[in-house]
Symmetry: D3
Subunit: 136 residues, 6 copies
């Protein structure tokens, strides 16, 4: 019997600024360019949450996507949707909110509520042309 | 030399109902919610069939996508397109037509007609926000 | 000052069957082909609701899309999502649920709750390759 | 001879906050909800610029899309991309940056550089599920 | 009673070159840039054919999309799909195959086979970022 | 610590013809069908370049997508965009430009400029319904 993956797609939008507090303003501008704008910019983040496991014979489900969707709503969307990631969240007070770091943080949060025998993978679009996958 | 994957995307639509005949009506309603509607509901299924192998030096193909597309038409679309999965198909007479099970069934059918040295993977969208991948 | 249109996109899925009860089985099959399957088939309907009017100077809104989204949820999605249009709804007990007729019915329902000075237009995708616009 | 429309699609992202300075904090929160977050949130704006006119017999063009794309880059993207609309732009210092008002402002800016005999229309997506069209 | 529009989406791909035979090589290069490449380049054209009319009471159709799809296949796809528009088609032997002119030609061809009381409109994507609409 | 992948999406369009110079005209026609048209046809190629590695603690980046985008522009788009792959490029003078071979060639070119400790993967859409992934 083979494993199967099921993915649920959700959406949030947020403001952010790329910045490393240990660096000078010059170095921040050089490395992060217009993403370093001190007044922030923002994105529509498209989030895909993939769960990998065996198909339950009784339900025909890996996981109930309604339950998965509610979990994402409760743990991720309420926390990040319509927020300023740098100012409004604990997670990115000091951690630079690159799309890589946002995906890793989402993984760490959701991992706690997904049963151990299920694998979890996160795909996160920052724009229609840039996306990350974690873990890969 | 590395392997390469080529994927062909096709489409079918069908009615279905999620239901486990061994359970009571109450348990079916509790587990499957509005997907348990006895009168059925339906979806546009977007199907991606991925073939993995080595690129043939003479043709530059892993597989001719015209041949692959005809095979999907013949074995999958004719069987499931514009059908009621629960009532009109042998495959889901007793098997619950969750998107997981539909993907597994499509894999089992196509696997018989794809040469042994080629790997096969199925991706199936039930809605733009829910999809499965098998095997994963 | 010019008018502006704002559109909200929503989603529902449903089973249906194209059928004219006044016609013979033969004529129904001839005209509606596989869409006449007596056991139904189904679709993911993508619904776009467009409101046309003047931009309010105080809010900068034509209409609050949160209010519009809640209205669509309440009047359309609750009625049609995960339903068999022919069997589960009053609207299509006798009216043939073509994508044209579904769009017209959605328009008639929403028109009653949209203020008179605002124009209303419906766009409805039955598949990614077929859609209607009403009124046009 | 009939008119023809040609549309060029571009992209920018920005932070914003919906707020009416003449209102109390309570009223702002009541009307704009989470869009009123004082620390801002943000979006990927997908911008479509449509030019309507007659097809030139010598070139077969209504307008050279390369010229149109450069104009949008120069007049719109440089001004709004990776900016905080409320803090970094003259246009939205006092004007509320709803998607309606952003589309109207983009129209007014581009109108000055498009030849008079050509019609101009703006379509602006704030999210994949909300968009405006101006003028309509 | 209001009119309703129904649209069918199809696809073809072709090679072309933008060129005006009455101009010098220099002028062609200046006006058409890399689109003037004498060895041609190519596109995936996404074609949307819209039919506007009244909904038939007996069928619930404006037009049967199966019939419309077959007509597009027969009159447009067979003619242009996998072709070099400049070399392989009568229509663009001398007419410059800009996306504007291709849309106008498709309109003129299909107009002959669509009943007079139905309006016809063409939307044609040359790339995901450039499209035309005719007549507008 | 886990690896993470970041992907940048770019676009080019080109003409091509599938052909094996060692075969007869008859065999070429039989194997490649309408893709063998001696006058060429063409596509909009959607290119996804995925880089896999560890997230840098100082920048929060796997790789700066601006640098990656500039590299793709410089090494791939300048070489292939608006070109006839068979006639205008060194790479496909004798190599058959199937989507498989184009992806492999793009991989070989980019691999030289991506640091050794980073993995590289290419995804290439030839049409919205056909795509390859290399290496897989």
């Amino acid at each position: 019997m083979n494993k199967i993956a099921i993915t649920r797609c959700e959406h949030f939008n947020a403001a952010h600024r790329l910045h490393n507090a240990k660096w000078s303003e010059e170095k921040n501008k050089e490395i992060f360019g217009k993403c370093n704008n001190p007044n922030f910019h923002g994105h529509n983040y498209e989030l895909e949450v993939k769960i990998i496991g065996y198909c339950d014979e009784e339900t025909g489900y890996v996981i109930d996507t309604k339950i998965l969707s509610d979990l994402i709503e409760d743990k991720i969307l309420k926390r990040f949707d319509h927020k300023n990631l740098n100012l409004d969240t604990e997670e990115f007070k000091t951690l630079n909110p690159t799309v890589e770091n946002i995906a890793i943080v989402i993984y760490e949060i959701l991992r706690q509520d997904i049963e151990e025998q299920l694998e979890l993978k996160i795909k996160l679009y920052e724009t229609p042309r840039n996306y990350v996958e974690y873990p890969y």
